[in-house]
């Protein structure tokens, strides 16, 4: 078992390394001056230029550049933001909580409502609920998240004036407002971005779980369970759903990056102060170190999520546990 864990971990490490190399190559290969990229179009003094050159090792041959890059990564350094002039890691740390809040909320919605609806679709396969939900999820799938966000912001936020359309907090809140008032304020701001992201993502979750549940209900041991005289709700929710929940673990692992890096589009539309909107701003501001930092973080989380998924399977599925 320990050997299997070590093997998987090594695999994950290799994958991250390859991803980092690919990103480095991408940075150097894209046409344009990497220095200009890292400097932005701010006029800089000669000293600043020289300092930047030294920091990124741009005056050194490529192998050295790569080594500096990798050792910087190992130390947890992701460079310095052009726009804000502070380390990218600091920026990321500042914006993480907002992304967590948004991503976490959507995650919870997906893994409660989404999973349940998907399973229900499979139980009532071909029925009205199934067909309606399938059509709705296909439509939701096809929506660009930023467009949906804009429409919702306009309709609910501006036209009907029910909920705030921008940001995370009301800038006009009195400074002595208590915790409850502040929390409620954040919650009110959370509704629209969370709704937008949920609509688009629940569609995928429902489809995934529906398929898994259909497969589970087809298994021969479901027939055995019925033949034993078990109540139908036991057959479905204790036997079939248990099996159908396993693929959901994979889905969980895929969500990890989104929870942290946030949705670039949704956060941008709603001006939600998370990592996603930071990345979006970095695009227009050509703040390359930030984009690079966010990408590296995202890749690490994708691999990390996959690793966690493997570990979870090993722990929960007795078959995998014994094979390991």
């Amino acid at each position: 078992m320990r050997r299997w864990i070590a093997g998987r971990t090594a695999q994950a490490a290799v994958t991250i390394a390859v991803a980092a190399v690919l990103m480095f190559v991408l940075m150097r290969v894209t046409p344009g001056d990497p220095l200009a990229r890292l400097m932005g179009d701010r006029p800089m003094s000669a000293e600043e230029v020289a300092a930047l050159r030294a920091l990124y090792g741009l005056d050194q041959p490529i192998p050295q550049q790569f080594t500096r890059f990798v050792s910087g990564l190992a130390r947890g350094e992701l460079g310095v933001s052009i726009e804000y002039r502070i380390p990218v890691t600091t920026l990321i740390r500042q914006r993480l909580p907002a992304s967590f809040l948004l991503g976490g909320t959507v995650l919870v919605l997906n893994f409660t409502l989404g999973i349940w609806l998907g399973a229900l679709q499979a139980v009532r396969l071909g029925g009205r609920l199934d067909r309606w939900l399938s059509t709705l999820s296909l439509a939701a799938f096809a929506m660009p998240s930023f467009w949906l966000g804009l429409i919702l912001a306009w309709l609910v936020g501006i036209r009907w004036h029910i909920l705030p359309a921008l940001g995370m907090i009301d800038p006009l809140l009195p400074p002595d407002a208590g915790v409850v008032v502040r929390s409620l304020d954040i919650l009110r701001h959370l509704v629209l971005p969370a709704l937008t992201l949920s609509i688009v993502s629940i569609a995928a979750t429902m489809r995934y779980q529906r398929t898994a549940m259909i497969e589970a209900l087809r298994e021969p041991y479901i027939r055995t369970a019925r033949a034993k005289g078990l109540p139908e709700r036991h057959v479905i929710w204790r036997h079939a759903w248990r099996t159908a929940l396993f693929p959901v673990i994979t889905l969980f692992g895929l969500w990890l990056p989104i929870v942290v890096t946030g949705s670039v589009f949704v956060e941008h539309v709603f001006n939600w102060p998370g990592l996603g909107s930071l990345t979006a701003k970095a695009i227009s501001g050509r703040d390359y170190p930030v984009i690079m930092g966010a990408s590296l973080l995202a890749a690490a989380l994708v691999v990390g999520g996959g690793w966690l998924t493997d570990m979870a399977y090993a722990w929960l599925d007795p078959r995998v546990r014994h094979a390991a």
């Binding site: 021969p220 055995t224 033949a227 034993k228 099996t243 078959r319």
Partner: protein, 325 residues
Amino acid sequence: MTPLLRVRDLRISFPTDAGTSTPVDGVTFTLARGETLALVGESGCGKTLTSLALLRLVPSPGRIEPGSSLRFGDQDILAMDPRALRSMRGKHLAMVFQDPMTSLNPVFTAGAQIVETIQAHESVTPKAARDRALALLREVGIPDPANRIDQYPHEMSGGMRQRVMIAMALATEPEVLIADEPTTALDVTVQAQILEILDRLQASHGLAILLITHDLGIVAGHADRVAVMYAGRIVEEAETGALFSKPTHPYTQGLLNSVPRLTGPRRPLVPIPGAVPDPAHWPPGCRFHPRCPKAMPRCRVDDPPRLEAGHGHHAACWLVEEAPA
């Protein structure tokens, strides 16, 4: 004595692209208390569907046609409400399936699955249920039951899994056990052990067993009576000894001729020519006539009913009438 199980004119149909298919088309048999009836036939003749119908587990889009009669004791199985049906399943009428690896849930332990059966039908404490499960495992001959009870199906051999299935089926002392090809997925050496367990349990529990198989060897050693199925119907039914010594229907004769024997003079194996007809298009007249070496002109036109060929011996063949009494 009322037979425990009475099946009359069972018809199961499936809609297909080529029209309605009737893989089970008028099956009639009875099962008495304490006896073993073997239902024999080639794969695809409808044996499994027949057994599933008894528990009303025919997979959709198949359906049991009206006009079919299934009776358990004095109850009409087809008219049961869901509660009565659920109560019958497992508690009075239990089933053991062919492949224990896929028929047992891989994420529950053997013990959990047996206990679950008990608790579904009786209100006992978890501890009492577990004790009973332990006793059952011992009874089906699983060594070291105290450890095995907490093991998962994939940690066991095929034979052991099948024993668990049998233990699970007998957990609530049913009157009837339907065993659908219980040994087909197992090694030959293990087959004998499983069958021996079934015999032993029948003697000690007074079980009636409906044994579904395609293996005539198993029939010879373990069945009191045999019903031979072909093309969705029972074509011959007799006590085991009588069937083997005086097979009446040409299909039965063909089956017996195609089984190699270890004793006696060497004879060539004679397979039955042709293939099983398509359930969507049964041939007219006697369904076996295209393959029958003794087919008469009458057989092409008239479908023979169940005719008496001896004491307790029936065959659906016109030869019964032609033969000297």
